[in-house]
Subunit: 179 residues, 2 copies
Amino acid sequence: MTELSGRKAQIVAAARGLLESGGSEAVTMRAIADKLGIKAPSLYKHFADKSSVEAALVTAGFIELTEAFAAAGSGSTERLVALGRAYRAWGIAHPHLYLLMTNRPLERDRLPEGVEAGAAAPILEACGGDADLARAAWAFAHGMTSLELADRFPPGADLDAAWRAGTNALQAPSRANSY
Amino acid sequence: MTELSGRKAQIVAAARGLLESGGSEAVTMRAIADKLGIKAPSLYKHFADKSSVEAALVTAGFIELTEAFAAAGSGSTERLVALGRAYRAWGIAHPHLYLLMTNRPLERDRLPEGVEAGAAAPILEACGGDADLARAAWAFAHGMTSLELADRFPPGADLDAAWRAGTNALQAPSRANSY
DNA sequence: TAAGATGGCTAACACCGTTAGCTTCATTAG
DNA sequence: CTAATGAAGCTAACGGTGTTAGCCATCTTA
C-alpha cells in the first residue's frame, strides 16, 4: 500500500494542515519545511516535487472519501440518498482537499492503483450497476458540492431541496431497473 | 456596458489567447505584455491587478455562454436537453475559460451586474421556474462538464449516455409540473 | 575501519505579481 | 504659443514561488 516512511508521513501531515487551514495557496514547500523545522530544499530528499506531495494528499482524500461512503450504511433502502449526503458532508468538511482532488486534471500516474475506483464503486453499486446513471449521479453530486464550495448558489438557496430534487430524479430510473 | 477602451480590449484579447492555447498557467502578466510588445508593469496603467483581467475574461465567458444558450433554440420541446447540449459544447470548446469561470470562488464584485444571472436564467426557465430543480440541473451539467474536462471519466465511458440518463431523469418532474 | 547511503544545509536561478519612480508625448488651458 | 496636465510607456527592484547544485554530518553496513 505504498507505506509512507516516517518523514514522508510528516511532510504530508504538515501539508495537510496547511491546506485545511489556509487553502491550497498556503501549501508552500517553504511553509511545509518550516512546520517541520527544516529548510525547503530538504523536502526534495523525500518527494520528487510539489506535485508528488499533492498527489499524496489527493490519495488520502480518496481513501477517506471511500471510508465515508462505507460508513454511510450499506443496508439503507435509499442508498443513493445516503451516499449523496455522505459525499456532500465530506466535501464540506474538507473543502480545500476536495477542490484539490477535483479541480485540476487528475494525474493518475501518481496515485496508487484503484484508489479512484474504490471511491466510485459504491455509487455504481447504488445505481444497480448502471454505469451511465452512476456517472450522472456522480456528476450531480460533484456539481452540487463544487458549486456550494465555490459559493456559487444565491445566498438564500435551499440546497437541501436541490439535493432532494436531484437525488429523487436520479434514483427513480434505477429503481425501475431493479424490478 | 462598461466599454473597454482599446488598450484594455487588447489586453483581454491577449490574455484570452494565452488562456486558450496554454491554460491558466500561461496567463502571465509578462506574457500578456509580451504579446502586445510592451512590458508587464505597463499593464497596471489599464488594470489594477491580474485578478481584474481574469474577471474580464470570466465576464466575457458568461456573456458567450448566455449567447450559446440563446442560440440553442427557445422553441424546442425538450428545452433542458438542448440547453444541456449547448452547455457541454460550450465548455468543451473553451475548456480553460470554463475552468476559470467555475473552478475558483467567483469574485462577484468584479463582474458587471446580472452577467451571472443572465446565464442562469434559461435553465431556470426550462425548469418551469422550479429553482430547486434548476439548481440540480445546473449542478448536473456543471459536474458532467467539469469531470469531462478534468479527464475524470474512464477512457471508454459513453458520456452521451450519461448525459441522456441525467437529463431524462431531471426533465421528467419538470414536465409533470407543466400539466 | 572504511564505504556508502541518508538527510540535512546554504546559495542560487528563473519566474511570478507588483510597486516606485522616471520619461515621453499628446491634449488642453490660459 | 506656451505651459501644464494626464496618459502610457519604461527600468529597477522587492518579496515570494518551485527547484537545482553542491557541500557536510551522521549512521549503517560490509
